[in-house]
Symmetry: C2
């Protein structure tokens, strides 16, 4: 088949009419489908049901005391070991948080703003003028939100199939007001890109002009493989240590998409200096996070093998959903040349790129037909996609039949938008 | 009996020798007792055992959806209603937090530093020079810690049996750099004072020079009565509303000493404007706090009556402990005139005042004999009691026999310190 832009005017008009008729069909079906956020579906939540069944009442003691009482700021030893395994660090280099890694990240950046990241001789970011962060785009809107709220200017660096455009990063870090970078290095949100070994090496190697530079290494999807042979991401703290740059990276993880979103356990891992600095703030902020929930998770998962086995069950639920959407995109859009996407092997999203200037139109058409997608623009700082081209698809929540309908509707909308643009040029 | 300072030199010397001999007895007993922190004892934790037994696995739904999944930033409606009852506000005026009200307080003050409390025209506290807070002293070390860490200067105002010295407060708030006040208005930490209706009225009425003035109203012991007829504290938000000053007060509570310390539920209550401002920050910080634990608490306590009934069981455990210590103080110290204290009717502490300049000596003697008490000075900002006179006693954790020994040892140490001081003058 010819690409949509190569179709003769007659055929283009015919396609447009056909798609409009098809669209009317979707509209009259009165759909109500939500693909806006990376929300696990009920079947995934059911996988952790036993976590809720554990009778904790005879299980009060952890290695450091009664989990029902005050104390143990950095987390119970058993849980630190579990997350140390997950992060590939020693237990002393991990702190267990509450139910949200977003909170740990916000708190860390907020601490850097009020007090700085603990680098001698550097003023808090809040006392330095015009502090900037590199945003790998498209990216995670809540990352951007932290910086936007705290007054840190975001500078876009595009993602490539290997990770962030490292030439751009290496150029930007020459500016001492560039204080850090936000990234999801494995199955990135939304593209599903895992940073290559070379990218990780270049990130580890970089010597930013700002001595108080910090990368928020949000390893949200570290064990979230869709296929048996998951992508391999080198351990950033190990690679950075080769260059003496281990302080530049702070690693965040959570069980939000392993056990329960918003009722799991989060953790932050880092160098000795960063752990010291974070605990130095945390001791003023909280006496201890929920140790009962920490112990519950340790009992349920036991170790990294337990987590890995559990994630295979998530993958069995998620894989058909991703394949339903990807199959539909392939079937309906590949020939058109009006969109492209990366086929992710893990994570929670599919990132669809349509023609420059038409993503908003696609979003509008989807919405009118009852399909809620992530707000177009949300994958960029300040909610503004400079190309108006990126659409984030979150296939985890709806069931496969619904997803098939949603994906077909979306493809129909992409075709309509493409036709409209081409017809406007005629 | 004569007061210790009125004893003839001979008798003073005799008393001193007798106390030293008694002290040696304590030392050779090889004690190891900890009365440093307001930590509930295991029997108190056992009262909430059923909370850990609730099989949550069939109980996924709250009024607003699945508690296992993302969402509901301000807390599940059921839990908001429970805490609304506890705080005497409407459900829309309360936000449910994580397991720690300290964290809610830290986060609130930190927000005021980076962004301000949301008063139009006022710069964030961090951008104003020399911001100060009133510290009611003696007080809670972790309150002071928040301000010390965040660079807010603390100005002492002494507590009286009616609450803070309001003349001093009313004078200080004329200074526009005084931005707020830290207080525990019911069964204050450590004195156990409940602010009188007149004090609450004067606090509500005050018009600080700083338009962005905020009182951290830490109602930590709101239902923590030791006796059936608990102290009555007027509802600060209601009283303040009479003057249009409801924005000046932000109320914090938690179940740390109701269910489990560090695994309970916390909440913040306030005016519409303050709730809006806090949610406006929280939406960048977290997607939702642990809703499973919120639902667990709702199922366990049901309503305020459930909490009140539960607190009576706590009181039955705590009352004999307080009475053991207070009885010993009465018996051993009242006649001496070398110490005074307020008899609390709730809360977690007894605040002992010894002769000016001798609290450190008492602490030192206690420590040498194996009794750990709250570090002398910790009840004042910067860890410095200007009078070196206050000792905080936390009777909740040890059993009554141990407490009796501990209290006798402490009284012995107080007498020794008093004798030493008087003998040095001779």
């Amino acid at each position: 088949m010819q690409r949509i832009q190569d179709l003769p005017a007659e055929e283009l008009k015919k396609l447009y009419d056909a798609e409009l008729a098809r669209y009317d069909g979707f509209v009259s079906a009165g759909l109500s489908i939500n693909m806006a956020r990376g929300t696990p579906c009920p079947e995934q939540l059911d996988l952790s049901e036993e976590l809720l069944d554990i009778d904790m009442s005879p299980l009060h003691q952890c290695e450091d005391g009664d989990v029902r009482n005050y104390g143990i700021l950095s987390g119970i030893p058993e849980c630190r070991r579990l997350f140390a395994e997950l992060c590939g660090v020693g237990p002393d280099n991990v702190i267990i948080g509450g139910c949200s890694s977003l909170q740990l990240m916000y708190d860390y950046v907020s601490q850097c703003v009020t007090k700085g990241p603990g680098v001698p001789g550097c003023a808090p970011w809040g006392e330095q003028n015009g502090v900037k962060f590199i945003a790998v785009v498209p990216g995670y809107d809540r990352h951007f939100g932290i910086c936007e709220y705290l007054g840190i200017e975001l500078v876009n660096v595009p993602i490539t199939p290997e990770g962030p455009d490292m030439d751009a990063v290496e150029e930007l870090i020459k500016d001492p007001s560039v204080k850090g970078m936000l990234c999801v290095p494995k199955y990135s949100n939304p593209d599903g890109v895992t940073y290559s070994a070379e990218t990780v090496e270049r990130l580890a190697k970089m010597t930013p002009a700002a001595p108080d530079f910090r990368v928020i290494w949000d390893n949200a999807y570290c064990v979230h493989d869709l296929y048996g042979d998951g992508d391999e991401l080198p351990n950033i703290l190990d690679v950075a240590a080769k260059y003496g740059h281990e302080d530049n990276f702070v690693v965040f993880v959570s069980t939000s998409k392993i056990s329960f979103p918003g009722a799991g356990v989060s953790a932050v891992a880092g160098s000795d200096a960063n752990i010291r600095s974070i605990l130095g703030r945390m001791k003023y902020q909280i006496i201890s996070y929920d140790k009962i929930n920490q112990l519950r998770h340790v009992i349920f998962f036991r170790n990294l093998d337990g987590i890995t086995a559990h994630m295979k069950r998530h993958a069995e639920i998620l894989r058909p959903k991703f394949e339903t959407v990807l199959g539909t995109l392939d079937r309906e859009l590949t020939w058109t040349g009006a969109a492209h996407w990366i086929k992710p092997r893990g994570g929670y999203f599919i990132s669809l790129y349509v023609d420059v200037g038409s993503a908003s139109r696609v979003g509008e058409l989807c919405k009118k037909a009852g399909l809620t997608i992530t707000r177009v623009g949300a994958t960029y700082p300040y909610g503004k996609d400079p190309d108006d081209a990126n659409i984030r698809i979150a296939p985890s929540y709806p069931d496969c039949d619904t997803l098939k309908t949603a994906a077909e509707l979306m493809c129909c909308c992409v075709r309509i938008a493409a036709c409209e643009e081409l017809l406007a040029r005629v």
